[in-house]
Structures are given as C-alpha cells and as structure tokens.
C-alpha cells in the first residue's frame, strides 16, 4: 500500500514538474528581460550569430534596454511549419518567399509585409553556383556542360529542400534565359535529374555526399555554402560560376501576431532595420551572402564576382506559381521519374 502511494506521488510529482517546465518555458518573456526569437533556415547560423552580437550593444545604446536574441535553424519549410504551428518567432528570415508567404496566409504576418522594409524586405540575396573537383577534370563551365554524357551531379531533392528547389529553377531558367522554349527547359532538367545518383533530403546532406563521400562530379549549391565547402575541402574543390543563375531571395519579416502579443514590436523592427545599415551589410558580405547595398557588394567582388542573375519570374509567373507548376504532387518534377526508367 505504502509503496503504491509513494509511486503515485512520484508520478504526480513528475507530471507536475513537466507541466511547470512547459508553462515556465512559455513565459520566458514576462520576466522583464526583452527577448527576440529569430527563426531562420539552416546555413545562416554563423551569419546571424555575428549580426546579433553587433545589434545587441547597438540596441542597448539607443534604448538602454538589455536584449537577448535566440536563433532557431532548420529546413526552411519545416521552420515555416513550426511558426504556423505555434513557435513564437518574432522575426522569420527564411530561404524562400513561399515559406514566409505560407505564414502570412495563416494570418500571422500582415499581408503588406513586403512593403514594410526597404528593398521589398530583402536585405541580402544569394544564388546557386557549381562546386567541382580540383582542376575541374570534367570541364564543367556552364549549364549545358552538366548534361554531357557521364557527368554525375549532386543536389538535394527539390521536394524537400530549398536548395533543391532553387537548383531546379536555376537549371530551368538558364535554358529559358538562353533563348530556349519551355520544352527545351523540360528536356534539359529531365536529362539533368537522370544524371543525379543520390537525392539527399537537405542541403547539408548533399554537401556531405559530394565533399566527404566523393560522389559526383559537380555539386549545385548555395553560393555561401559553396565558399564554405571549398574552404573545408583543403584544395580538393573549386567554385565554378556559370554564365547566369537564379536570384535566390531570402526575405525577412516581422511576425505581427507574435510581436503584438509579446510586446516586442519595437525591438523586432529595430532588429530588421539594422540589417540595412552599412555595418550589417558588411557582415553579410563577409559571410558570402550578397549585400543588397551595391556599393558594399562591390567591396566583396573577389568572393562575390558579378554574375547575371535572373528572377524567379523567368521560370514561372511568380513564387505562388512555382509550387503547383513544378513541385506539387504529380507536377513537372514528379514526371521526370518514371517507374520504367529504373
């Protein structure tokens, strides 16, 4: 009897403890300290750490308030889902317009969000480039070289990865920009994806497959990831800039519903506006993202050489149209793969 009662008490204590932890965890903002949560995508970890370290003293000087900033990183779409499902992000800095827009469609972000910040809420942009093995043995210099016989390509699955989506759109757009018709683009990506031996689910998975596992001749990846990969590769890898590529646009936005409730609107606004200062733009360039300020981008011409970037509208009517046209179930990307083909 005594044992049973003791056990029940133990269970009760554990339960109470768990609930207390959950509740206490959710109330972090009430203790007087100001806290922002920045929900971002995978490779931006180091970028935001540097930006936060600069912004916090700035904010202290201007307002006298002590601010802490938490970062959350993961696949862009799953991060968007987490915010939709209740993760209390103050700002979202995701890889794709469609991810930010999905949160907006749920009513958490004001529908005019793009016009609230300079440059349509785009403090920096990026693109997709090639990484090849030392000496570029396959002579891969531009998009058409990718589908030469025997070339094996590594890039993540567009269905599960932002990098994967942009690689696909970059390949498609490169054909269209070069004067090809929709059918030519379709033939090109079909050929290209048939030369991909491994479809990783995320960007870092592909990097591991290419750089650590020595699989593939060329890796299509984010420009900033390419720089990291080559630096890690100890001379075994090289970046190749194709003649043109897609303009990848990781927009930033305030999550209105959350900042209103948490009373963090001012701090979050100041945080996002800070990204457009020369100081922040320099940090962005140092991390191999392309600063929106052209003067500052020019300073980094050695690592961010000029390249013709086309907008997503070359491939579809807009981001809204990209998903149904290419990546929805049974859409163009799925049609590339047929059961007989294997």
């Amino acid at each position: 009897m005594a044992k049973a009662i003791a056990l029940s008490f133990a269970i009760l204590t554990v339960m109470a403890g768990t609930f207390w932890l959950i509740i206490a965890g959710n109330r972090g903002g009430d203790s007087g300290a100001l806290e922002l949560l920045n929900v971002s995508y995978d490779p931006t970890r180091e970028l935001w750490r540097d930006l936060n370290a600069r912004f916090i003293p700035h904010y202290r000087q201007q307002t006298g308030k002590e601010l802490t900033i938490k970062q959350s990183h993961g696949g862009s779409s799953s991060q968007a889902r987490a915010v939709i499902d209740g993760l209390e992000a103050d700002v979202v800095t995701l890889a794709l317009w469609s991810d930010t827009d999905a949160i907006c469609k749920k009513g958490l972000i004001d529908s005019a969000w793009q016009d609230r910040l300079p440059d349509h809420s785009l403090p920096y942009y990026s693109t997709i480039v090639f990484v090849v093995r030392k000496g570029n043995p396959r002579q891969i210099k531009d998009w058409p070289d990718l589908v030469k016989p025997g070339v094996s390509i590594i890039t993540p699955n567009p269905k599960t990865s932002g990098n994967g989506k942009l690689s696909f759109l970059a390949a498609w757009g490169a054909v269209r920009e070069g004067g090809g018709a929709e059918d030519d683009a379709r033939a090109f990506v079909t050929k290209l994806y048939q030369q991909i031996p491994v479809l990783d689910t995320g960007a870092r998975g592909s990097t591991v497959t290419f750089a650590q596992r020595d699989i593939g001749d060329v890796h299509l990846t984010w420009e900033n990831e390419a720089h990291l990969e080559v630096a890690e590769g100890k001379g075994e890898l090289e970046i190749v800039y194709p003649s043109r590529s897609i303009r990848a646009e990781p927009y930033v936005a305030l999550v209105d519903a959350n900042v209103r409730r948490k009373g963090t609107q001012q701090a979050a606004e100041a945080y996002l506006n800070f990204l457009y200062t020369d100081e922040a733009q320099e940090i962005i360039g140092k991390h191999h993202y392309r600063p929106i300020n052209p003067a500052i981008q020019r300073k980094f011409a050695a690592t961010l050489p000029p390249i013709a970037l086309f907008p997503v509208t070359v491939t579809a009517r807009g981001w809204d149209d990209v998903q149904p046209k290419f990546f929805a179930d049974g859409a163009l990307f799925d049609q590339i793969y047929t059961p007989k083909g294997n």
């Binding site: 029940s8 968007a80 491994v198 990783d200 689910t201 497959t209 650590q212 799925d334 793969y337």
Partner: protein, 275 residues
C-alpha cells in the same frame, strides 16, 4: 499472466489503471487520433489518390520489404549473439554485452552517415566491395544494413533472459538419452525460445517500419528505387499539404498495426504449442 485475474490482492488497482489509461491516452491515443482526424478531412477519392499512386506503392513495398528482411536477419544474428553472451565466458564479455545496446543510444542519423561513408566506392569497405558489385551505399542493400543495425538490440535483449533461464540439465538429460546436437537444439532449446524470437522480430520490424533518420542518409532517395515511405510524408509536409501527409501516415500506421497484430497472433499460437 494466467492467475492475475484474482480479485484485487494488491491495493490501488483503480489508481494505477487510471494512470495507465491517462498516460496511454495522452501519449499514444491522442496523437494517433489527431492523425486519423486530420486525414479524415480528405474525401475518400482524394485520400485514395494520395495514398495509392504508383510511387507511393513502390515506397510502401520498399519500406515493408526492407524492414522484413532486416528483422529476419536480426532474428538469426540476435539469437547467435544472445547465445554467445549467455553460454560462453570470454574476456571483455561485459563490454560486448554493453555494446549491444549502443544502437538504442546512438542518434540513428549518425548510423546512416557512418554506414554510407564505409560503403561508398572510396570508403573503407566500399573500395573492396564495390568492385565485386556489392553496393552497400545508396542502394536497397544499404537500407537493409542500417535497419539491421537499428533493430539489433531488440532480438538480443528479448532472447537473452529466456536463454539464461534454461537449465543446462535439460540439455544434458537429452544428451544422455542419446539425442544428437542438432536434435537438442531443434527439440529442446528452440521451442521455448520461439516466443521470445517472435517478440524480438516484431519489435525490430516495428522499429524499422518507422525509421527515417538513418535511412535517408544511405538510401539515395531515388523515386521508385530507394525512396522509403516516410520520405514521401516529409515531401508532402514541405508542400504544407498536412492532410495528404497524414493520409500517408495513416496507411503506414494501419499497415504496421496489422503486421504487428499478425506477429502477436503467431507468438500466442507458438506459446500454446510450446506448452
């Protein structure tokens, strides 16, 4: 089990049952119900169109097939390991015993990464195996390999205590009565082990059916060839198509449930026949 229906010898029956039900509901039933409810927001036609495409079918076949093969391999490997650990004394036995549990503790993604690094053409094992035509990475074989790894402890840990409890005298008696070694194994040792082997098989199978983290790093995820069903679920989630994703999950859940039910029936049957 058989005599437990006595009237409340132990106090606290309602309290403990209450907690059990509460926890089961909170941790298992509620999330599962939510899953089914979400999937129910699709019409029957939509549901069918989502879960029964050619691509989905080949993914189910791969998931179930690879899990089955891996669980079966685990039955043989697990029995062997349990036998060695119980019946023989050798140096560092405790260490080996502890190693068996490692697949439980290791994040499965690590297993996938390590296995793929070993079996790629430039890997330690791959450089010898790939020329022989054995591709252990980015292939179906690779999927089975990591599933064997993640499911290994189940069979070992279910068989070990039963084997430990078997009296050596029974074997000696059989031997003194003139039984051959094979007869002893087949007629004396194996029958009491069958229920434990089946339990271990079921656990390893269930684990393998739901495995995601390790598989995606070694499978290559090529549609129709090495794409497991959970990858399809993630792909649908990326489109914010929650209902479709849960519809696929419901099919996997129901399939797993039926499969496990079948194994349970088999286990009961074997217990009855063992007595």
């Amino acid at each position: 089990m058989s005599s437990a229906i006595n009237r409340r010898v132990l106090p606290g029956f309602s309290l403990s049952l209450g907690y059990t039900l509460f926890y089961l509901s909170l941790l298992v039933l509620l999330p599962l119900a939510a899953c089914f409810l979400k999937a129910a927001s699709l019409s029957l036609g939509q549901f069918w169109a989502t879960v029964w495409t050619e691509r989905a079918r080949s993914a189910y076949a791969l998931t179930v097939g690879a899990s089955f093969v891996a669980a079966l391999a685990n039955v043989f490997l697990g029995l062997l390991i349990a036998w060695v650990l119980v019946r023989y004394e050798f140096p560092c036995k405790r260490l080996f015993d502890a190693l068996v549990d490692l697949p439980f503790a290791l994040p499965t993604a690590v297993a996938g990464l390590v296995y793929s690094s070993l079996y790629v053409p430039s890997g330690w094992l791959g450089q010898f195996l790939v020329p022989l035509g054995i591709e252990g990475a980015y292939s179906r074989l690779g999927i089975v390999l990591v599933l064997v790894f993640t499911g290994l402890p189940f069979v070992v840990r279910t068989v070990q205590p039963v084997l430990d409890g078997l009296d050596a005298e029974v074997e000696e008696a059989a031997a003194s009565l003139g039984a051959t070694r094979w007869q002893i194994f087949r007629r004396v040792l194996l029958p009491p082990l069958v229920p434990a082997l089946l339990t271990g098989f079921a656990l390893a199978l269930a684990r393998a059916l739901g495995e995601y983290g390790s598989v995606i790093f070694i499978a290559g995820n090529m549609p129709y060839r090495t794409e497991i069903a959970p990858v399809l679920i993630v792909a649908r989630l990326e489109e914010f198509a929650y209902s479709e994703a849960t519809a696929l999950a419901v099919v996997l859940l129901t399939g797993s449930f039926l499969l496990l039910g079948l194994v349970n029936l088999l286990e009961r049957w074997s217990k009855r026949h063992g007595d």
